[in-house]
């Protein structure tokens, strides 16, 4: 039996004016388990707290009920006070007789009756309270960043600058990501490589950062502060330590049929290759599918010409296992496939290209050396049509329901750059809406119209009809004029929707991080916790969470880094003690609880279960206290009631119900 003390606060006249506090005290004395009750002017004052602390010691209280304001106000205060007096803080409960009683009722009789009921419910609950202790878990002071684009690089740099070790895992042979493929960036038109490559080099040179390129995360176990991750380092076939990056191998490689991923398939590359000149690390990989040596066993040219002897055809995939305290997903995006959009003739005509392809064409290191030309005949285009929202904002099965966010701005950029460099070229943009919320964004777009006279037409394009003479007849609508527009273009650029990189889905499963219907990783709270995943210790950086431009990506990357630093700066993590726990004897092992857990906190183990007349190995649910946030979804999903929640147990809530309904 508990020894409970009840303390009723007057809150000046806030409570006492409407609730007969003396009567509440008297009624409290009659409740089972209550050994002491008193009232006081201001329970939260130092004197009030002293009264509670004294009573705990003097009366040997095992539980306390404070009838006062909302627990959201002073529960923490009173629990700290109880702890100071040697009582487990979770043995204290609040009966909210101010916000939920005295402040909303006028009649003293009614308010007092209700206050008594609320007090009884709290006493009934405390009778069933048990001391709870926050667990502790160790924090491994190292972070993992998955994805080596601008998001991943920035996050890693920020974490490393704070003095923590960071590993970057990147699946392609070089870090840099999509930003490395861009020519210029909006709204300032500075060169993408000029601002990105210094960061890539800085990351590579940073003593706290390790970079695993051509590598993928294979397996993740553990929980916040203590993850264990298997990383597959794919066989590069080139010894990263020996290679000097001289590039002779790429020059001499006889197989030059593979399509360059970096140039979006618009040019060819050798079988041994670095994706681009500024690659970090500047060490090539052998693409075994295209390598003659791997296909036929004969060749070996690269090995012969390599002055450093770095080529190793025998190299195998290697799995390394490492521990991390926090993981950041920065898996980025790709453009959607346009196979199903052939009304725009993307498959039929080489002169219908995506914006990212145009980005490569405009780039000095790109397939055309930076000259704007048609891929079909190498002629400079005179009429270019841009089509917006190809696959974005679609309610049909072909496209994506969301706005890809970056297309309006990069199209304005492309239009402006083309008009600037090739003033004779006519540029038309078909748009549905021009969306430019961002610093200096609308000004940028207006410049395209006002200074560069880009022809913006509100309307979509219905069909692009390739003509026998090689031009492209663009049939669009101008819905402001209410007419159809026909333009004889010689290049059409499609602003294809972006989608999360396909690896995000697999990764989400490994991390037990949730993804939305579009494949974006879900944030813990859309407003208040935008860079955290609902799974503790997993953070989100960049487009893997939702469409973003570069400035937004960088700021989110920084925010994710701060969250990681905050986590890694702790030696130990205190865990919320109000977590779920399964009664092994009753658990069916049916997985219903795990299916509703938003945090992946529930796993199953084959455990030897011992009880009266029972001793066997069973599959039972095990809650990881470090991950569980205590929502209780599992307790209701569990049919047998084996799953219960500390602090809000089935018996406690039932007791409250009973106390109210009597």
């Amino acid at each position: 039996m508990q020894r409970i003390g009840v303390f009723v606060c007057h809150c000046g006249s806030n409570i006492a004016a409407t609730v007969d506090v003396k009567r509440v005290v008297e009624c409290a004395r009659l409740e089972p388990g209550v050994v002491f009750a008193e009232d006081y002017q201001y329970m939260c004052s130092e004197a009030g707290q002293m009264k509670i602390a004294d009573a705990i010691k003097r009366e040997g209280l095992t539980g306390v009920v404070v009838c006062s304001c909302s627990p959201r106000m002073h529960e923490a205060t009173f629990r700290k006070c109880a702890e100071g007096a040697g009582l487990n803080p979770y043995m204290l409960e609040i009966a909210n007789i101010r916000e939920q009683c005295s402040w909303i009722h006028k009649d003293m009789e009614t308010a007092t009756e209700k206050a008594v009921v609320l007090m009884r419910a709290a006493v009934a609950k405390v009778n069933l309270n048990v001391p709870l202790k926050s667990g502790e878990s160790r924090v491994t002071k190292r972070a993992l960043v998955i994805g080596g684009g601008i998001a991943g690089i920035q996050t890693a740099l920020d974490i490393a600058e704070a003095g923590y070790e960071v590993d970057i895992v990147e699946k392609t042979p070089s870090i840099g990501g999509r930003m490395a493929q861009l020519d210029k960036t909006f709204p300032t038109l500075d060169c993408s490589a000029c601002i990105l490559t210094p960061k890539m080099v800085e990351a590579a040179a940073h003593e706290k950062i390790r970079i695993f390129t051509y590598s993928e995360v294979e397996k993740v176990t553990g929980f916040v502060g203590d993850f264990t991750v298997d990383i597959r380092k794919k066989a590069r076939s080139v010894d990263i330590d020996k290679c000097t990056g001289c590039g002779v191998c790429q020059e001499k490689c006889p197989s030059k049929t593979a399509k360059s991923e970096f140039n979006r398939g618009l040019s060819k590359r050798s079988a041994i290759y670095t994706p681009f000149a500024q690659a970090v690390p500047n060490v090539p990989v052998i693409d075994r599918e295209h390598c003659i040596k791997f296909k036929t066993g004969k060749c070996g040219v690269c090995s012969k010409v390599c002055p450093a002897g770095a080529i190793d055809y025998e190299m195998r995939d290697e799995i390394i296992t490492e521990k991390y305290g926090a993981i950041v997903a920065a898996t980025g995006f790709d453009m959607i496939s346009l196979d199903k959009y052939d009304e725009y003739a993307y498959k039929k005509s080489p002169d219908v290209i995506t914006s990212l392809e145009l980005e490569r064409i405009m780039n000095a290191a790109g397939p055309t050396g930076g000259h704007l030309e048609r891929l079909s005949d190498g002629k400079p285009p005179k009429n270019i049509v841009f089509i917006q929202c190809v696959g974005s904002r679609c309610a049909d099965k072909r496209g994506k329901s969301y706005c890809s966010k970056i297309c309006c701005m990069y199209t304005a950029k492309h239009a402006m750059l083309i008009r600037d460099k090739y003033p004779d070229t006519n540029v038309t943009v078909f748009y549905i809406d021009v969306r430019t919320p961002g610093k200096n964004f609308d000004e940028f777009y207006r410049r395209a119209v006002e200074e560069y006279h880009v022809n913006y037409i509100k309307g979509q394009v219905g069909k692009v009809l390739p003509q026998p003479d090689g031009t492209l007849l663009v049939q669009g609508a101008d819905i402001i004029d209410g007419r159809q527009v026909l333009i004889n273009a010689d290049m059409v650029v499609l602003a294809a929707a972006i989608e999360p990189d396909p690896t995000a889905r697999k990764l989400a499963t490994m991390l037990t991080a949730s993804i939305d219907t579009n494949g974006f990783l879900t944030e813990a709270h859309p407003k208040l916790r935008p860079v955290e995943s609902p799974t503790a210790g997993i953070f989100l950086s960049g487009v893997c969470q939702g469409p973003k431009d570069i400035p937004e990506t960088v700021s989110q990357a920084g925010a994710a880094a701060v969250k990681v630093i905050g986590l890694l700066s702790k030696d130990k993590l205190l865990t919320n003690p109000c977590t779920a726990k399964a009664d092994e004897l009753m658990c069916n092992g049916c997985s219903a609880c795990a299916n509703v857990c938003p945090y992946g906190a529930i796993s199953y183990e084959d455990r030897e279960v011992r009880g009266i007349g029972v001793r066997e190995v069973r599959r039972v649910a095990v809650v990881n206290g470090a991950l569980c946030q205590g929502c209780g979804a599992c307790t209701v999903a569990c049919p047998s009631g084996a799953m219960d929640l500390f602090g809000f147990s089935n018996r406690q809530i039932t007791a409250e119900v009973d106390a109210i309904c009597r």
């Binding site: 009304e343 679609c394 979509q460 394009v461 219905g462 609508a477 007419r483 159809q484």
Partner: protein
């Protein structure tokens, strides 16, 4: 409910189109092969239904000019499918006028020796009740 509102509802019922899904991109008009002949353009149909201006719709030349080629239905990114609205408006007009857009008397002179029966059947179905 006014007559116009009733008719608007009827059109929405017959067509199954939710005009509020339209984001006014104009792809229907961009794609329509006979847009030039139309007084009310395909993308405007939605607004007429929303505003309840059904009489203008049922009197529109567009009803006869629509080729029922389903291109606007296929390419509509919001699955609004304006072609259905046009068809529903044509239905409504045909039902109201009793005889529809085509009288039996005028048919023979429209035919030639090669006219496939399919054309006659479909014309009757499109233009008459």
């Amino acid at each position: 409910m006014t007559k116009a509102e009733k008719q608007a509802e009827l059109i929405r019922d017959i067509s199954g189109v939710d005009p509020y899904k339209c984001m006014k991109c104009g792809k229907c008009t961009a794609t329509c092969p006979s847009y030039a002949e139309m007084d009310i353009k395909p993308h405007q149909f939605v607004s007429f239904v929303i505003r309840g201006e059904i009489e203008a719709l049922t009197k529109s030349r567009s009803l006869e000019k629509c080729l029922s080629c389903f291109a606007c239905i296929e390419r509509c990114p919001r699955s609004v499918e304006p072609g259905r609205l046009i068809d529903a408006a044509r239905q409504l007009a045909a039902r109201e006028r009793g005889g529809g857009f085509l009288t039996t008397e005028e048919v023979p002179e429209m035919c030639d020796p090669d006219t496939p029966s399919q054309l006659l059947v479909s014309a009757y179905r499109r233009y008459r009740r």
